[in-house]
């Protein structure tokens, strides 16, 4: 530890000159110690003054503070990419159900996404209910997917739960929708029956505000 510097050796950190334990009668000229004046300066192997652990602590603390500050600066940038206030303001819409006739399907836009509003025929409701216990991949009864007393209306987000394509009605193996992109089949309750889609077509949050109007969102 307490190594004597060679004559004329450059000490990179003459910092220890200010430390009480080394404040001996030595002179420093041009950053070089003059041998005869030095009384055992504390010079560690890395050329820095003693108390290496304290210095390490300062390094780590300063580094951690810099990383923390960096993260705090990056967060607003990342957060700015989340939906803006005006985008979120378009959160809910109302729709008049009398516009849909029996056996018809209307596509409306909610939050930029298409939504199917379907007035189901008795046969469709019948087949949906009959399949309630048919070993569904994403088990849900038909009653859970419609509103009480309005079981003829099925409201689902028109995005295939696989990768978001719009399924077409009447072409699938189960009388409901079929997604042309990757071949997912949905039944008349919009439940996934076959294909890569993991879940049933999503029923958005909605309520009947009157007998004939719904509010989505």
């Amino acid at each position: 530890m307490g190594r004597k510097p060679e004559p004329g050796e450059i000490c990179l950190k003459p910092l220890n000159a200010f430390m009480p334990q080394t404040a001996g009668p030595h002179r420093v000229r041009n950053g070089a110690y003059e041998e005869q004046d030095v009384t055992e300066p504390v010079v560690t192997e890395n050329g820095e003054g003693g108390d290496a652990t304290r210095r390490d602590f300062i390094h780590i603390a300063a580094g951690a503070a810099a990383v923390g500050a960096g993260a705090m600066m990056v967060w607003p940038l990342i957060n700015s990419m989340n939906p803006a206030a005006d985008t979120l303001a378009l959160a809910s819409i109302e729709f008049d159900m009398t516009k849909v006739q029996e056996g018809q399907q209307v596509v409306i836009t909610w939050q930029g996404k298409p939504v199917f509003v379907r007035y189901r025929t008795p046969a469709e409701i019948e087949s949906a209910r009959a399949d309630d216990r048919a070993g569904l991949p994403d088990s849900q009864t038909d009653a859970e997917r419609v509103k009480d007393g309005h079981s003829q209306y099925l409201v689902v987000i028109a995005s295939c739960t696989h990768l978001g394509c719009i399924p077409t009605f009447g072409t699938g193996d189960y009388g409901g929708w079929f997604c042309p992109c990757h071949g997912s089949h949905y039944d008349t309750s919009g439940r996934i029956r076959k294909g890569p889609a993991p879940t049933n077509l999503v029923v958005p949050e909605y309520d009947f505000v009157s007998d004939t109007r719904i509010k989505i969102g």
């Binding site: 990342i78 990419m81 989340n82 939906p83 803006a84 985008t87 596509v107 836009t109 939050q111 930029g112 996404k113 298409p114 739960t161 696989h162 990768l163 978001g164 394509c165 719009i166 042309p180 992109c181 990757h182 071949g183 076959k194 890569p196 889609a197 993991p198």
Partner: protein, 442 residues
């Protein structure tokens, strides 16, 4: 090659002045005089071709950005305006659009060359890894760019690809909304895609610098695949200029001829007609297909019956490339001397093409004729679904099973000790060097 000494001597006063302050002329001169293996064939010209591709894409892209309007209302119309009203705009856009395809033709051949001649093996792992990173960035940039014209394929391509993120359990949905900047693909999405499409090419350019830095540190591979011994450096290398500037230049001319055929005679041959229809969030096109260069990965995505599994497989098919240097157990670099591996390599190339073909087909369509065989689990055996699955299986097996095993079990052919040997003395005189010997040099 890494210990290449500078031979540049500044002649004029200005050069001397500059050389002690910013030795940029020396840097260029040293680059030009780099000792390069004398046996590089035309497969090694794609590096220069790719550099040119990047320059063309950035140059045409910067100009297009001057005329393009990144908003859902104006994007499609502004692209049409570029095509009809901007002076020479149609040629600039066709160059940019076909340039992406040309870029991928070159990058695939460049990667297959690296695979064949073992350019990813020690000490060149970092060249390969940075190269894989560039490839991934290239895919991202191409996808973002394809969204900008805001046609039907742009919109629905963006819908499908961003939905891949949503497949991640738990955190997928919030990330998806963050990525799109709203509940659906909209103006916010288009704007950020434009911003990133402009940014990423410069990130790629930065990675190209790292790619070349790594290349010049570990030295270029060559078709024989051996490291050039120090005492053979003079005999087995030639300066980069004029030997390879001219060779690359000639290859570039041929490449530009192919490029021109597409730009001037069949500019829409590689595009999709549906992208001439403005984006409509309420109508999905009958079939969504990505650009041809992403079809193999799209096929892998569809091959897996599980949503998240498909996404993992698709990214895994690119991710596996990054660890390739550690999957290959053979000490012999060039497949010229690995007949068994070469056969598997040729099958791999064919399988890659099959995957590309499958990516453009409907999964349920029959492959041969128009008949049904029998249902295997969830699809007819005679369908693209199962062809894709078999091809996907081979794709992963090639890297994860065949590469490690063949390297351990095969008997490579004798490897020449120098580059000149196979040329000067014929195959008969080759020293039957142990495969490991090549590794000790350099």
């Amino acid at each position: 090659m890494s210990d290449h000494e500078s031979t540049y001597v500044p002649k004029t006063g200005i050069e001397k002045w500059l050389d002690t302050r910013l030795p940029i002329v020396r840097f260029g001169a040293d680059y030009m005089s780099l000792p390069t293996p004398r046996n590089l064939n035309y497969w090694y010209t794609f590096g220069a071709i790719l550099t040119l591709c990047l320059v063309i894409q950035i140059a045409t892209g910067v100009i297009l950005a001057m005329h393009y309007v990144p908003s859902t209302e104006m994007a499609f119309a502004s692209v049409e305006r570029i095509m009809r009203d901007v002076n020479g705009g149609d040629i600039i856009r066709y160059t940019h659009a076909n340039g992406a395809s040309m870029f991928f033709i070159a990058v695939y051949l460049h990667m297959l060359r690296g695979l064949y001649y073992g350019s990813y093996k020690a000490p060149r792992e970092m060249i390969w890894i940075v190269g894989c990173l560039i490839f991934f960035l290239l895919i991202a940039t191409a996808f973002l760019g394809y969204v900008l014209p805001w046609g039907q394929m742009s919109y629905w391509g963006a819908e499908v690809i961003t939905n891949l993120v949503g497949a991640i359990p738990v955190i997928g949905e919030p990330i998806l909304i963050w990525l799109r900047g709203g509940p659906s693909i909209d103006n916010a999405t288009l704007n950020r895609f434009f911003s990133l499409h402009y940014l990423l090419p410069f990130v790629i350019a930065g990675c190209v610098v790292l790619h070349l830095w790594a290349l010049h540190t570990s030295g270029q591979n060559n078709p024989v695949g051996i490291l050039i011994p120090k005492d053979r450096l003079k005999k087995d290398t030639v300066p980069f200029h004029p030997y390879y500037t001219v060779k690359d230049g000639f290859a570039i001319i041929l490449f530009l001829m192919l490029f021109s055929v597409f730009v001037f005679f069949m500019p829409n041959a590689l595009g999709h007609a549906d992208n001439s229809i403005p984006a409509n969030p309420l109508v999905t096109p009958a079939a969504i297909v990505p650009e041809w260069y992403l079809l193999p990965f799209y096929a892998i995505l569809r091959a897996i019956p599980d949503k998240f599994g498909g996404v993992v497989a698709m990214f895994g098919s690119i991710g596996v490339l990054f660890i390739l240097p550690w999957l290959d157990t053979s000490k012999v670099r060039s497949m010229r001397y690995r007949p068994t591996m070469r056969t598997f390599f040729i099958i791999f190339v064919i399988v890659g093409l099959i995957l590309g073909w499958c990516g453009a087909q409907l999964p349920d369509a029959p492959v041969i004729g128009n008949f049904k065989t029998f249902i295997l689990i969830d699809g007819d055996l005679n369908s693209y679904l199962w062809l894709t699955r078999f091809a996907t299986l081979y794709y992963f097996a090639f890297f994860l099973v065949i590469m490690p095993l063949v390297g351990l079990r095969e008997t490579p052919r004798p490897i020449p000790a120098t580059i000149s040997e196979p040329v000067l003395s014929g195959a008969a005189a080759m020293t039957a060097a142990a495969p490991a010997a090549a590794e000790k040099k350099g």
